[in-house]
């Protein structure tokens, strides 16, 4: 028989992701634990029209009535309901006297979650940024009329760069600051309350051969949600840089990643890990405190990674790009959870964190101890890391596992039960797999002995 290797995907927890592609489609992908955790496309919004190619997207993860903003190639910005895809309203980003939308594409879009605008939930605020650097922040009153008519409440337009092209922009967690960067534009940070530039980076010095690499930022992000001072940026010369605006204008740390341009950078919730994707489909996680590679995400990904999204609660990231697959990864084991083929070149992916199934609840509860354990582990790591070097951390962790297991065995004394435990823990971590294997071998050996005797 031909030996056909199938990619074993363990399936992912219940989640809901939205992808945007070059044909202007929005696809909703849902995975449910009750159905084996295999994600599938449940809905498709929009019609097939390449002129409506999605350039940027943003979601505000509100509990009630989450909204989704989508910038199209035609210069229109649509705001939809993230639940059923109803278009609430559309606004045009192109102004009459300005350049045409084809020449001045939207590169950055942010839909404010709106803590400060909580009182009037019918307003939503949008920050858009175009290639030429025309940035505008407008708050829009949504009227109740079904036609989707919207009135621009207040609009604020400024330019973030004199020359060059903006390629990336990002708004921080508190939604007070935004960073911009691009080809020929150094990273700069703006205060959104009064539209002033508060910081700009300085290009790194020439190298030992007196060669100056031209500025070309392709992706950027804030390192943590509640700290706007640390910025991670990826460059076209395959470099990842960490800037600290409270320290200096030049990068604090910078390191190279592979050979092609960095195309996307996303931060983790823990405040020091970043996920980096590049033009030839390599995805890796880095510890920004040390600049060390934590590990690569391997899974036959061969197309440029355009976007990475971190799930707000679950330990899952999603990546998508030119190979038209949406891939979901476990961040602890760096294993591919599953991949969905979506037929088009994907430009963006976002997670909808408010997705939860009623029928799924019990199984989620079953998973909870696992998660809790992970979280516990995480905290342990954090505690230990201050004192211990990296290598010993792992060993100590493994030791803990071993101790735990031993305790379990002693308690139950029943091999079947311990086996089940093995199964349930498989997900938890692969790092200690080695030790696990040893153990299972041992147990089996003992089994055999018993057989022989009998």
């Amino acid at each position: 028989m031909p030996r056909i290797t199938t990619l074993e995907c363990p399936g992912c927890p219940s989640l809901r992701a939205l992808t945007f592609d070059s044909l202007g489609l929005i696809k909703v992908i849902e995975a449910k634990v009750s159905q084996g955790g295999a994600p599938r496309v449940v809905e498709r919004w929009g019609e097939l029209d390449s002129s409506k190619c999605v350039l940027a997207a943003s979601i505000n993860n509100r509990k009630d009535d989450p909204l989704l903003a989508v910038a199209r190639k035609t210069g229109m910005i649509e705001v939809l309901s993230a639940i059923n895809g109803d278009i609430r309203f559309t606004v045009s980003n192109a102004n009459e006297d300005g350049p045409r939308p084809e020449d001045d594409a939207v590169v950055g879009l942010h839909l404010f979650a709106g803590q400060k605008l909580e009182l009037t939930s019918r307003t939503c605020t949008l920050l858009t940024c175009t290639t030429k650097g025309n940035t505008s922040m407008r708050s829009i009153e949504v009227t109740n009329s079904p036609a989707g008519f919207a009135s621009v409440g207040s609009s604020n337009t400024w330019s973030v760069c004199g020359s060059g092209n903006i390629l990336c922009s990002k708004v921080d967690g508190s939604e007070k600051y935004a960073i911009f960067g691009g080809k020929g534009v150094e990273m700069n940070m703006w205060d959104l309350d009064n539209c002033t530039k508060i910081w700009a980076a300085k290009s790194p010095p020439k190298n030992s051969l007196d060669i100056f690499t031209p500025t070309w930022f392709t992706s950027s992000t804030f390192l943590s949600k509640d700290d706007h001072r640390k910025i991670v940026a990826g460059t076209n010369s395959h470099q990842v840089r960490l800037y600290d605006i409270s320290a200096q204008r030049r990068p604090v740390t910078s390191f190279d990643f592979r050979e092609t341009a960095i195309k996307s950078v996303t931060e983790d919730l823990d405040g020091y890990t970043v996920y980096v994707g590049n033009g030839s489909g390599d995805l890796a996680s880095f510890d920004m405190r040390t600049g060390k590679l934590l590990g690569c995400f391997l899974g036959k990904c061969s197309g440029s990674i355009r976007s990475i999204a971190r799930h707000p609660e679950l330990p899952v990231i999603a990546s998508c790009g030119l190979d038209s697959y949406l891939r979901l990864w476990d961040i602890k084991t760096r294993q591919l959870l599953s991949a969905v083929f979506l037929k088009q070149h994907l430009t963006n992916v976002v997670f909808d964190s408010n997705f939860a199934d009623e029928e799924v609840k019990p199984s989620v509860a079953a998973d909870l101890p696992l998660n809790a354990e992970q979280i516990a582990n995480e905290t342990e790591i954090v505690d230990e890391e201050e004192a211990l070097p990296v290598k010993r951390k792992k060993a100590s962790k493994e030791d803990e596992r071993r101790k735990k297991k031993k305790a379990m065995k002693e308690n139950e004394g029943n091999k079947e039960a311990s086996k089940e435990n093995n199964g349930s823990k498989k997900k938890a971590s692969k790092e200690n797999e080695g030790s696990k294997k040893l153990k299972s071998k041992k147990s089996k050996r003992s089994k055999f002995e018993i057989h022989d005797e009998s």
Binding site: P2, S302, L322, K441, K444
Partner: protein, 354 residues
């Protein structure tokens, strides 16, 4: 399950099977796998014996099958169904990217892609062919043959220009594609096909090049626009490559020219062939001379004639293998790849990408 257990089972099983099949043969030899024998002479002896036995069995089986077929024919029954050999292609790993004919997204995507204008005949293909910096011997010969294969192709000397500059130049001159023939040690070994003005860029490895003069009984192509045959481009990536190749050739072939260019994909290798064909009438002589004479007497000779197509190869002949497909025009530093061949993809012989 446990590793120990498995091993012991796998050791046990063949013994049991062999015992069941041939209880007549010597047991001592059967129990030992030839690979476990350390003495080479002995090992090869046992191995040869095993092989011989297998061959005999196979022959026996074939004979039995033939006999069954013959008997079925004589009795006028349905002959037993023919076995389909298992090949690497028909046991290919399942690939969800294989295009289905009822996929509306595929067609919408095709309409929107970079080749749409050429394939809808809004633009006529115009191809610029150039080489790498150093070029001699087989390179120019290959290019002169490529020029005869691809209509409306123009050769430009490379000089010392950057490829990006050449792309710019070709864009200004309204070319639709750019082909770069890369030569290594005076032997063409790579082909770069760039769609203009906005990509994509496909990088192929070129091998097994046979020029026209080295093909026996070759023909000389005419100036007619050739017909194009693209075989087996099944997946999404395959479709894209197929369309890229298609955009090199004019979409209105002169059928009078009876000239055909074939790109045949098999196991991710793209075989290029260039033929002239002719429709010929052939009298089937065998049926005339041998059996069914009664029928022959009645039927006219014209009815025995069949129309066949005869081929004459015009050359060149070469094989391409895709190494990468880049989004946009050539950009070695900041380029985004749609597909790159990576070593980790080669974990199965039955996985194909085109």
């Amino acid at each position: 399950m446990g590793y120990k257990r498995k091993k012991s089972e796998s050791e046990l099983e063949p013994e049991i099977e062999n015992d069941r099949k041939k209880p007549m043969t010597q047991k001592e030899e059967k129990e030992i796998l030839p690979s476990t024998i350390k003495n080479k002479e002995k090992r090869s002896e046992v191995h040869a014996k095993l092989k011989h036995q297998k061959k005999l069995e196979k022959r026996k089986k074939a004979k039995a099958r033939d006999a069954a077929e013959k008997r079925a024919l004589e009795l006028g029954e349905e002959p037993p169904p023919k076995m389909v050999p298992r090949t690497i292609e028909n046991t290919r790993e399942f690939d969800e990217t294989v295009c289905k004919p009822d996929d509306e997204e595929l067609f919408a995507g095709n309409d929107a892609d970079e080749f749409g204008a050429i394939l809808k005949r809004d633009r006529t293909p115009k191809v610029l062919i150039t080489t790498c910096r150093f070029n001699s011997s087989r390179g120019p010969a290959f290019i002169s043959e490529l020029l005869s294969v691809i209509p409306n192709a123009h050769y430009y000397k490379r000089g010392t220009y950057d490829l990006k500059k050449i792309v710019e130049y070709a864009n200004n001159k309204d070319f639709t594609s750019l082909i770069v023939v890369h030569t290594n040690r005076r032997e063409p070994d790579a082909l770069l096909i760039i769609g203009l003005p906005e990509g994509p860029t496909a990088h192929f490895k070129l091998s097994k090049l046979v020029l026209r003069k080295d093909i026996k009984n070759h023909g000389n192509p005419t100036n007619h626009k050739p017909e194009l045959v693209l075989n087996n481009f099944t997946t999404r990536l395959g479709h894209r490559i197929g369309r890229l190749i298609q955009s090199l050739f004019p979409q209105d072939p002169n059928f009078r020219g009876r000239r055909v260019v074939t790109f045949h994909n098999q196991r991710d290798f793209i075989f290029f062939r260039h033929h002239r064909y002719i429709f010929d009438r052939k009298e089937s002589k065998q049926t005339d001379s041998k059996g069914k004479e009664a029928k022959d007497a009645k039927g006219e000779k014209a009815s025995q004639e069949r129309v066949i197509a005869r081929l004459q190869e015009c050359g060149p002949r070469f094989t391409l293998k895709l190494t990468s497909l880049q989004h946009g025009t050539f950009d070695s530093k900041g380029g985004e790849f749609e597909w790159v061949h990576k070593p980790e993809m080669d974990t199965s012989r039955r996985r194909f990408f085109l």
